[in-house]
């Protein structure tokens, strides 16, 4: 407090007479705290006021509020559900069905967009003129057309051109493609299949131990171990061996035309396919540019140094360039993942039963509880986005430059 008061005022006069204590409202620290308290009180009061006002308005309009509706029966069907669901399920169940549909398309979209984005981004820098031009054409086309139009293109133009169920394209009488979707045989697990899963688990543990050991050995002796081949052999071989030993405890349920539609098997509905295609292709174009920027951010001297040590170009990319480029790539990549997840809400335009279309749409309409439904939906998107950010930040910390 004392030193702060001395900053203001003339040091000459202060050295002569004892400093006059300035009034408390002139103390910058007190002021700062006071203003912050006022701001906080105002914000809280504003929030309370909005809440009160909404409550009063709802009551005056005779609109029911609260979250009781989540346990009442929904009474409508949903075309795609990852968990058991029927018309007699509650609105709460509908919420989970819708959320899982959103997560499904987002997670798959992130995976496809990342794979495709990295391939295109690297192709964009290829020395091969044709490849780099093709990559450029891809990027400029897909990132410059609005996503909603792309979704419509896939849904109304491409997938609408598929044949009717009776004229389906068939792949060996096991998989069928028609306007209603792609029908695939569904695996039916027989008793004993659990052992195959156990074998897979053991294989995963072995792989982790093995790669650790191989890494340590290489660090200590410089000898390389054919990790990739061994890992592949373990992951595929062990479960397959057990599968054969337990007498193939797996059968397939094939889709079959019955009445109007194919029944049985798994189906990828066109709403899902077009949304996933559009989201992946669109976001991949942005990721490709991020990857290109990341790679170009790594000094060319690194490549030259690597080549002069006799490391070939694919290993240079994998071991020298990409790890350094990732430091630049990951923060903007996180944004793209967030965008993809949020963009998945465009599902409503083509009838894919995601969170926005089903919960913030149909449920809102059937119950009339707009504020609750929208609040829940916003909270969910916020949570998903923050979770993605958190995970990506953790990963970023791992790959970030360790400063000494």
């Amino acid at each position: 407090m004392q030193d702060l008061t001395q900053i203001s005022g003339n040091p000459m006069t202060e050295s002569i007479s004892t400093p006059v204590k300035p009034p408390i409202w002139n103390n910058p620290q007190v002021r700062a705290i006071a203003f912050q308290i006022i701001a906080l009180v105002a914000t809280v009061a504003f929030g309370l006021y909005i809440f009160q006002n909404t409550q009063t308005n709802l009551r005056q309009l005779g609109i029911t509020s609260g979250f009781d509706f989540l346990s009442s029966q929904s009474g409508f069907g949903i075309v795609q559900s990852l968990i058991p669901h029927s018309e007699s399920s509650s609105y709460g169940r509908v919420f989970w069905v819708a959320l899982l549909n959103t997560l499904l398309v987002s997670v798959l979209g992130v995976i496809f967009a990342t794979l495709l984005g990295f391939i295109i981004g690297i192709a964009r820098l290829s020395k091969n003129w044709l490849i780099s031009r093709l990559a450029l054409a891809y990027i400029e086309t897909f990132r410059n057309i609005p996503l909603l139009l792309q979704i419509f293109f896939w849904y109304f133009a491409v997938l609408r051109a598929m044949p009717a169920p009776r004229q389906s394209f068939s792949l060996g009488e096991a998989a069928f493609l028609n306007i209603r979707g792609l029908y695939l045989p569904a695996p039916q697990f027989q008793p004993g299949f659990g052992w195959v899963l156990v074998a897979l688990g053991i294989a995963v543990v072995l792989v982790i131990l093995l790669s650790r050991w191989a890494h340590q050995r290489q660090m200590a002796t410089g000898q390389q171990f054919p990790t990739f081949q061994t890992v592949l052999a373990l992951l595929l071989g062990l479960p397959l061996l057990i599968f054969w030993l337990t007498g193939s405890p797996l059968s397939w349920q094939y889709p079959a035309l019955q009445g109007f539609n194919f029944r049985g098997g798994w189906v990828i509905i066109p709403e899902m396919a077009s949304l996933l295609l559009a989201l992946s292709l669109y976001t991949a174009a942005f990721i490709a540019e991020i990857v290109r920027a990341g790679i170009q951010a790594v000094s060319h001297g690194q490549t030259e140094a690597s080549f002069s040590l006799g490391i070939n170009s694919s290993k240079t990319l994998r071991l020298i360039i990409l790890p350094q480029a990732l430091r630049v790539i990951i923060p903007p990549l996180t944004n793209q993942y967030l965008n993809l997840t949020k963009n998945s809400s465009l599902a409503a335009a083509i009838g894919y039963p995601d969170l926005v279309s089903t919960f913030a749409g149909t449920v809102l309409n059937q119950t009339g509880q707009a504020i609750e439904c929208i609040a829940i939906t916003m909270a969910v998107y916020l949570t998903i986005s923050l979770l993605i950010s958190l995970l990506m930040n953790l990963y970023n910390r791992r790959v970030a430059l360790v400063e000494r």
Binding site: Q36, L61, G77, V79, F260, N261, R263, N365
Partner: protein, 340 residues
């Protein structure tokens, strides 16, 4: 630390947000101040609300709003139409974006109670049916087991569909779209086998298809769908006006008053006609409107029968029979309380 500038901005925002709050019970005042009625209609349904090439709206639902405007302002053109999807409509009314929703909306108990609405009457007695391609070879709804069904999201239709299939132990796959046009396109493309909706809508959708003759409406009617205008709960003066505008049109048909003969009918000796046309009594004052408002409604928009025939009946391409929508004394259900 929070700079003072931020605080002033916050204060401004606070001021702006709070003054814009919706208050119940002031719809009529707001309408009179605006000078027009904000009316929510369908996003494109021939016969009910449909914009022609010039952008003029036509249809039963549209005419109901025009009639209310004629009642309030003496001018049927003082309406601003807002096209809404099935999903948007109820929220638009609740939030005050529109004053009256006249959009083939089914009267149900939960909409009347929990959702804070008031249905003002029934403009069209409807029921849910199915539209299918003739090639499918289906003769009635019981033959639809296993079908893929296109339906509009957030409607009573969606719920009736599930009830019907469950009650008859049949399976179906629902594809729910926001817009009725998307459902129709999907039916044409073969994404779904069946389009389900209120029968009036099915007829309207059918004439919009590329080959209407390839499709038939199945004979089954699986639900009651009384369609009518809706206003917000808690604004009784406005509720009364919208309600009685419709009753006036029905009563006018019953008394034989049409938009053409309304001036002559003013000379009638029938006291019912005299009261309705404002020649006798002061039925205008009771509603806070001009004394001849009912005559203006009939003159500018017409009686119920005229509206029906013009938009969905003989005078239209839909050619729907009066059926349930005939007057009560002609075997139908349209019945209005007396003007007294």
């Amino acid at each position: 630390m929070i700079p003072i500038k931020t605080l002033t901005t916050a204060a401004t925002v606070l001021l702006l947000t709070t003054t814009g709050m919706v208050q119940a019970g002031v719809t009529l005042d707001g309408i009179k101040k605006n000078g027009f009625i904000k009316c929510g209609v369908s996003d494109g349904l021939p016969g009910f609300s449909y914009a022609d090439e010039k952008g003029n709206y036509n249809g039963i639902d549209v005419d109901v709003c025009r009639a209310v405007a004629a009642a309030v302002f003496g001018d049927a053109t003082k309406v601003k139409f807002t096209p809404l999807t099935a999903k948007e409509r109820l929220t638009a009314l609740q939030s005050g974006e529109i004053d009256v929703l006249s959009r083939n909306t089914t009267w149900t108990s939960s909409r009347d109670s929990a959702q804070g609405m008031n249905f003002t009457g029934i403009t069209y007695y409807d029921g849910q049916g199915f539209l299918v391609n003739k090639k499918l070879g289906v003769k009635n709804a019981k033959g639809l087991d296993g079908a893929t069904v296109c339906v509009q999201a957030g409607t009573t239709t969606e719920l009736n569909l599930s009830d019907y299939f469950r009650a008859n132990k049949m399976k179906y796959t629902p594809i729910s779209y926001d817009k009725s046009d998307e459902s129709a396109k999907s039916l044409e493309a073969g994404r779904c086998d069946v389009l389900t909706s209120d029968q009036s809508q099915l007829y309207a959708q059918r004439i919009k298809l590329a080959k209407p003759d390839d499709y038939i409406v199945l004979p089954d009617v699986i639900s009651k769908e009384p369609l009518g205008p809706v206003v917000r709960h808690g604004d009784d003066d406005w509720f009364d006006i919208v309600k009685w505008t419709l009753f006036v049109m029905v009563n006018a048909e019953e008394l034989g008053i049409t938009s053409k003969n309304v001036e002559e009918m003013k000379k009638s000796t029938n006291p019912d006609v005299k009261r309705l046309l404002g020649v006798e009594g002061d039925k205008g004052k009771d509603f806070g409107l001009a004394n001849d408002w009912m005559a203006v409604v009939i003159k500018q928009v017409g009686n119920y029968g005229e509206i029906f025939e013009r938009n969905v009946g003989k005078g239209s391409s839909l050619k729907i029979e009066r059926g349930l929508n005939a007057l009560w004394n002609q075997g139908g259900l349209q019945y209005a309380p007396p003007m007294r």
